[in-house]
Symmetry: D2
């Protein structure tokens, strides 16, 4: 199977190239870049010297599937001809994640270039939407925060264990901000430091409410979603809080057991989600396509506390994209994704 | 004024020695250690070579004020004779923070050695209890998390801006765990990693509910308090969430303004608390005795979001201890504490 | 092929388990631990849950090859019966690296338990000793510093490009110090810090002189070897300096070209050594079994400057052990070792 | 005494503002910036809110001494009118460090704007040139690497303990690269990474040879000087290597003693240089104006090994500038510089 990568030169694209280099079925035949077009991949990323090839301005040759790691707006624009031609596409950007073009405009401050396409795109979180992904030619790869956040809360929402008053406090490493230069990613500013950012509202929030809303169309989620930047390269950890619906969970020790049971049941057959016995740490996911989830309760206040973590560039981006591609192409879902985390 | 430091060899004690070395009125005349007794201070901490002295087993000579940086239980035991003799004491441990000996026993798993002393101790958060501290000979220096947490929420609680459903998501650097050896502070385990810990309940929680309860004796706080370890040495950042009491704050833009006004008013004359215009970062407090607080609201859900940060070893420990001592001794409250943060 | 790992619970052993989990031919059938015996591997190392098994006190069942990650002295003691029984063994410790038992005693402060075995052991640096490794049942896996140091200098020594006055300034991440607890690996002490250590002489030095001496039995190397600890988890970078033998290299631009040519020639067919066009960075080796080497000259002083880096736990330990095992077993040398570096 | 700071908005300038805020005699009355002119200091650097003032394009009001933290070339251009008017000036840039305009042009790739001024400038390393600084109106503040490097080697050169074959292997934190944006200071690229840079020759080298040459005008130093970037914010550690002149030092144990004695003697009365008993660590200098030096020998090869470290923004920049200003103004040399290092 021949694959192309549009904009390989960001961290998401480079990580995709790395993962696909060990994929048993998918061959990367063409990669594009913007400022780096004309160079070779190993020149820009020496760690990819084992999978070197030229970086071109446009995709070259035939491709069975195309991954785009362009930013929003630019991605949709570049992909529309491919989508219309029926090429299978996995898009890393936000362009096809939201079903409602008005919500897209509100958060991304641009009109959507092709609102009619939104309904035909699948939101690429396999654990929720596997069937839809299988039959779609256009898959919107979720954001890194939403992957962890939705997986953290889906079992509780699906089973009605919590009320709609959800708070997600998220912590991310710096690679989530990409490779572009900014004082916000300058080592001397970021190291030995933690701060909240996008306090007025992070763009990844509407994906979370949309997808959790699809699971359980009850009262709309009243979500507060706040992101923090912490001094590490890879990894996202989200901590979710919500009042238990004690009518469903009961109280006392049965509440905790009921919660745990719901999570274990929900993810029983998932190859890339593990419900853990101890609070997980991002380092346990470094370089691996797994999401670790620890659900528990605060017995003093009967709130759900759920902690989830991923490698933002793998399960939160490139690994999830490969997982989606495997599903779209009818390959084993775990193909190319069995690397264990690097520890320590 | 002659000061003694009991157990100077942890991070809290060493930081106290550093701060006092520049204090215009307080002279450290004696320091004790446990395993390091017999060595010199500069041998254990080369950065203190400018303020060298022998480390002894017991305090030597006369002292007007004694700081204890011993762990809980050991501290009370060592201090009781001094307290009974009327020596002024600032205790870094948890031994005199809680008013209720039963709560102490529940969280610290030991019986309190002197329950009757608890009522006479002042909880050493000057911004709340300045008058009490001034007239007390025994001041319990707050924990690092409680300092940031209580200061973050006090104005909202005092003004009745929020309901009792409070969530605090706290993030701490590693020095908060002290100098003792543990896999939890091993560089290779902690670096490039974030995780929640003490998920079942952190010992610092009862201080927070006690002190906020004293501000506003309405319905008891239903607090969920969760701590996370992040890969940096110094700094604590707490993010507080609570539903606005919209009967008090109103809605729309007036709510945000009302919240901000309450915070600015509450801390108007405080030398060490700043209400900031932008979300603060721990690095802005490195080595300084200040607490930065940013209150805002989530306009989608009408929740208070308040972010506060400190240097856990300064405003969260040694700096606050000096602030308390200054008050107890009738010195200017800012004496020895005017160092600006080191940045970057 | 059935493999056993003795002392899987250090970083070297755990990394070996991770690498072998993806090896196409080698199956780990038994792992031992000391304090962790009785637990399961995934309990101690959650990132290995994909390759879980019990940790026992002794190896169980039949094994075709045994890896020992025990410390020196303990390793030889445990391995002697296996060695005498003719089992293929790769030893991570220093016990079989030095040919001279007196040198071993001088640096490791214990008598060697089996001096007569030393001559039959192969020093497991495949790029220098591939044939010897192929025919040996006992391979001493090199230390992490020696792997980088010997590979950095071997081409220059072999071609007589430099005099014997060699200085190696080495920088290591903290994982090289292992998982044991020490103030030297305490996060708060190590982070944002750099220092030299073992200034009186590091135990890895005699391996370097021994192996470089075998390449070119001219005048003995006058080596100064100094190690520094830097605040990162994985990675070693060594910088080597030596006067050019300008009788061999010539002067002017030909000297630099001559040096480069010698390095490229020496490593032309090596799968795991790359002579780079730019100074390499340890991050380009993270998780990968490669050594990057950049040779150049200081044209002002006619000194060789050579920079080499590796992941100390992979090419400096577990990856190299697998490479050795592949050779010993007649498998393709790269089997199980083709993972690209994780970047960033 | 009224001071002005030109270009306060880099790390050197901001650190100077921080240090001067606690200076008992010097008052900062005017600060300039380039892109930040029109803002207030506390807006750009919240940690300086305790010493706030407007940032202007040009210095305003009268100043007794001016510090320039502009880059080279721009600095000389801006300072020439002040120098000609006889204002006391401390320049952080390289513009007045080198005595030979041709050497300046070779390394900085621009013609020097005022070659005739070079001879009248003092090289601002007080430990070597105190008298010259005292009587000069123009002091060139040394580079961060040269401060550590020259102090590390001066006693050995002065006493003739070593030959001219000197190698300096230097390691620096990232703040030395300034606040400008670059992939070389991007957190995700720099963290968990070490690499050599400027391998072809670092601009700070000629200062080192110039100043060491002035100490002992024997055979010219044959210096190899190589810099490495390590993942921390502040701190420089240099490791120097040179053959002992055993005719002077003797051999055996007397050599080490002779070396140590020479260093202790050379720095006996220096307030900001400490000859240490153990290898120093950069963290012992964080925020402090001290240089720690550990001289020893390699007894196997009779080479000097000398390790020195500083905080690059303090003793390597702003602190040294204040030290120079104190000398120029006839103030106590230690005024405003007595802060102990922050540890951990």
């Amino acid at each position: 199977v021949k694959a192309g990568i549009i904009n390989v030169t960001g961290y998401g694209g480079a990580e995709l190239a790395r993962i696909l280099s060990r994929h048993p079925e998918l061959d990367v035949v063409s990669v594009t870049g913007r400022s780096s077009a004309g160079k070779r991949l190993a020149e820009v990323f020496p760690h990819l010297s084992g999978t070197d090839m030229p970086i071109t301005e446009e995709l070259e040759g035939e491709t069975d599937i195309v991954f785009s790691a362009l930013p929003h707006a630019a991605s949709a624009e570049r992909l529309m001809p491919l989508i219309e031609a029926g090429t299978k596409v996995v898009d890393f950007s936000a362009d096809f994640r939201l079903k409602d073009a008005a919500v897209y405009s509100e958060w991304y401050k641009v009109d959507h270039p092709s609102p009619t396409t939104l309904q035909s795109a699948a939101y690429g979180l396999p654990e929720l939407n596997r069937d839809e992904i299988r039959t779609s030619n256009l898959v919107a790869n979720p954001g890194c925060y939403p992957t962890a956040s939705i997986l953290a809360l889906a079992p509780a929402v699906a089973a009605g264990l919590i009320t709609e008053d959800v708070i997600i406090d998220a912590k991310s490493g710096v690679s989530g901000a990409g490779r572009a230069l900014s004082l916000n990613t300058h080592f001397s500013e970021v190291d030995e430091n933690v701060k909240a950012y996008s306090v007025g509202g992070h763009r990844h929030m509407p994906e979370v409410t949309q997808e959790l809303g699809r699971i359980n169309p009850g009262p709309e989620l009243r979500l507060t979603f706040l992101t923090h930047l912490i001094p590490m390269v890879r990894g996202i950890l989200v901590t979710g809080y919500a009042p238990l619906n004690t009518g469903v969970t009961g109280t006392g020790e049965t509440a905790a057991a009921r919660v745990r049971e719901a999570y274990e049941e929900y993810y029983r057959d998932e190859p890339f989600v593990t419900v853990t016995d101890e609070p997980p740490a991002t380092k346990q996911t470094l370089g691996a396509n797994n999401c670790l989830i620890y659900p528990t309760i605060d017995p003093r206040t009967y709130r759900l506390i759920v902690i989830a973590c991923i490698d933002n560039l793998v399960k939160g981006a490139a690994g999830e994209a490969v997982q989606n591609a495997n599903i779209m192409l009818g390959l084993p879902e775990t193909a190319g994704l069995q690397q264990l985390a690097l520890y320590p």
